[in-house]
């Protein structure tokens, strides 16, 4: 019995030490922001100076947070059900320069009004996370100081994020104003998003 007591003590102490060191080395949840966020039906996003988004659009953010870095996609829809794409606008854009620090998410994406990769116009966003982490709110526009505020709510948690959520074909996603996705696919030879 003495042996057991003697051997348990050091083992427990060691396991405690391991746990403490593991926490100290950074066993924290680095996926707080990761998930899918959508604008609410009542408040479509208006981005001034961006054709196709000036009249209001429904945006979907697919985010992956890795420490201070954020990667992801932004998609653009014409209806609050997030089905109809917007004519003449890229269906999606990859986020660039995504950062998440102090509860504020900052990112940019290429102007979706032209699906050309060559475009250099960036649209930026600075969204502040709510206390519960399910809401992001802040300006989106060419100039943040004058941009209108957008509000996003989390619709998919990190664990439910699938590979299809992360898919984006920027070049092949631009749709003509008066044509459907099937025609675009026929022209480019690629599947539309």
């Amino acid at each position: 019995m003495t042996t057991g007591r003697n051997s348990t003590g050091p083992r427990l102490a060691f396991l405690g030490l391991v746990a403490a060191m593991a926490v100290a080395a950074g066993c924290t949840d680095s996926r707080l922001l990761t998930g899918v966020y959508r604008t609410t039906a009542e408040a479509p996003v208006v981005v001034d100076g961006v054709p196709g988004l000036e009249g209001g659009a429904y945006l979907e953010l697919v985010l992956g947070e890795y420490g201070p870095d954020v990667a992801g996609i932004i998609r653009f829809y014409a209806d609050p059900d997030f089905i109809q794409t917007i004519g003449g606008v890229c269906h999606c854009r990859f986020l660039t320069k995504g950062r998440f620090e102090g509860g504020v998410l900052v990112f940019a994406f290429l102007d979706p009004s032209s699906c050309s990769q060559a475009t250099v116009d960036l649209i930026s966003a600075r969204l502040t996370e709510s206390d519960n982490g399910d809401t992001l709110e802040g300006p989106i526009g060419r100039v943040l100081a004058t941009a209108r505020t957008a509000r996003f709510k989390r619709t998919t948690a990190a664990g439910d994020l699938g590979s299809e959520d992360k898919t984006c074909d920027e070049v092949g996603s631009e749709l003509p104003v008066d044509s459907g996705p099937g025609d675009e696919a026929a022209e480019t030879g690629e599947g539309a998003e």
Binding site: T2, T3, N6, S7, P10, R11, A13, F14, L15, L17, V18, M21, A22, A25, G26, C27, T28, S30, R31, G64, Y66, G67, P68, D69, V70, A71, G72, F94, G98, K166
Partner: protein
């Protein structure tokens, strides 16, 4: 003498010549006691001797007859006392004496030399007789025939003395006769058998013996007793004898000598008993009391403090924690798992060891590890250790090999979000070291908990020089391990 007989003597003589000076005692000579389940200490009982010699009674009318030997009574009393102690095995001369008929018996050779000496003496070839007898005496002493076969030894000294008398070498004859009395103090001779001069020489030797024989001369000195004990595979000896000049009652003397327990210890006198002679029963009582007194404090197997030999193998299993100090991620990440190690103590202070650790990586703070991975670490080398009953401390140095299963890390968030999309994540943005090879050093302690069970703790560090990625992006792991171990053999 027939030709065949002469040939036999020559053969015996040659055999005596080739007997090595330090001939190892026949192994069988120490046999004689049944193996016991109880560990027993072997104690040799030297022949009891009655040195109460009366020179006037050295020569008697008619044939000498054997009378009850008081010395033998003392030795028997000692044997009875020792026999009551189950942890003592007594060794008496009869147990050590080889059969005289055995062809390997050194006694046979000595007896042959005695007969040769006797022949030469009768042929009045005295120098040759002395040579044979001296050779016989030397051979006999080497195999302790003065203890095992005193009558044979006595005859050798007798004829040696007679030869020296014939040669007119009085001093040598005197010594020979005194030696005769030392091995057989109770020996008597037929009156008129020897010339008057010889009888006088023998009587003079006896008188001198009484005056000069030192009481403590056990077999001629403790060194010889020590050698005899080795021969008898015993660690103690008991000697008994009676002393006293003619006209005195005499005294009973008992001596116990044992090998010192210190390293390289010699024989020391540990008990002595003396009492005036007042009969065989009282003498036996003195011998018994002396031996009992010694036994009360003697180191017997059950009282022996046995130092348990230290283990030669150390096997441990541990919980292990490790951190690579150089990593391709922006923050360090933890690795935890288990370890199993075996060390073989090749010799005191030096061991060889082998160790295997299996460690699982924890997620790093920024998620730069694309996925968790396993590290299988094998280390092997030599160690320098300091050991005791408390355990051991060691410094292990050796080679270390790490296999990293599915290690992938990147600081590019796109590679984390689209890890399998080459368009979003160029392969160059992901580090994939698979194996690492280098050196390791560890400092540890094994602290005994109970018996062979010990608590194991060690801290180590490694440095890798070889990897499938040229710049060895993962390097310098420090590790902590704690667990339990078992020391064996």
């Amino acid at each position: 003498m027939t030709l065949r007989c002469k040939a036999a003597w020559i053969a015996i003589l040659l055999a005596g010549l080739v007997l090595p000076a330090d001939a190892a005692p026949p192994k069988k000579s120490a046999i004689g006691l049944p193996e016991s389940a109880v560990p027993r200490r072997r104690v040799a009982i030297l022949p009891g001797r009655d040195f109460r010699i009366d020179p006037g009674a050295l020569f008697i009318e008619g044939e000498p007859v054997s009378s009850p030997d008081a010395g033998a009574i003392l030795a028997d009393a000692v044997a009875r006392t020792l026999a009551r102690e189950p942890e003592v095995a007594t060794v008496r001369p009869a147990d050590l004496r080889q059969s005289a008929e055995s062809t390997e018996s050194p006694e046979l050779v000595v007896r042959g030399l005695l007969h040769l000496g006797q022949e030469r003496y009768r042929d009045i070839r005295i120098p040759e007789a002395i040579s044979a007898l001296e050779q016989g005496i030397a051979s006999a002493r080497k195999v302790y025939l003065d203890i095992l076969s005193p009558d044979l030894m006595s005859d050798l000294y007798l004829y040696q003395g007679l030869c020296h008398v014939e040669q007119g070498q009085t001093a040598q004859a005197h010594v020979a006769f005194k030696n005769l009395l030392l091995v057989t103090p109770g020996r008597k001779f037929r009156k008129g058998w020897f010339p008057q001069a010889t009888e006088a020489a023998m009587r003079t030797a006896a008188e001198d013996f009484i005056r000069t024989n030192p009481k403590e001369s056990l077999m001629g000195g403790l060194e010889r007793v020590e050698a005899f004990l080795k021969f008898a595979r015993a660690t103690a000896a008991v000697a008994t004898y009676l002393t006293g000049a003619p006209g005195e009652a005499g005294a009973v003397e008992v001596r116990v000598a044992e090998v010192s327990r210190q390293s390289g210890g010699h024989l020391v006198l540990v008990a002595r008993g003396e009492s005036p002679w007042s009969g065989p029963e009282a003498a036996a009582d003195t011998a018994s009391r002396t031996v009992s007194g010694w036994l009360a404090c003697a180191v017997l197997p059950s009282r022996e403090v046995v130092e348990k030999p230290l283990a030669r193998f150390y096997l441990d299993t541990t919980a292990a924690y490790s951190v690579f100090l150089r990593v391709p991620t922006r923050r360090l990440f933890s690795n935890a798992g288990f370890g199993i190690g075996l060390a073989w103590q090749v010799k005191e202070g030096l061991d060889v060891f082998g160790r295997v650790n299996v460690l699982n990586a924890f997620e790093d703070k920024f998620g730069d590890l694309v996925k968790q991975f396993w590290t299988i670490r094998v280390t092997a080398g030599v160690g320098y250790s300091l050991r005791g009953n408390w355990g051991r401390v060691f410094l292990h140095t050796g080679l270390a090999f790490d296999y990293l299963s599915d290690f992938e890390s990147t600081t590019d968030p796109n590679c984390k979000f689209w890890p399998n999309d080459p368009a979003r994540c160029p392969a160059s943005n992901v580090r994939r070291p698979t194996y690492l090879l280098g050196g390791a050093v560890a400092l540890g302690i094994n602290a005994t908990i109970y018996g062979p069970i010990y608590f194991a703790f060690q801290v180590g560090v490694a440095a890798y020089f070889v990897s499938n990625e040229s710049d060895t992006p993962v390097n310098f792991p420090i590790s902590l391990e704690a667990g339990l171990g078992y020391a064996f053999f």
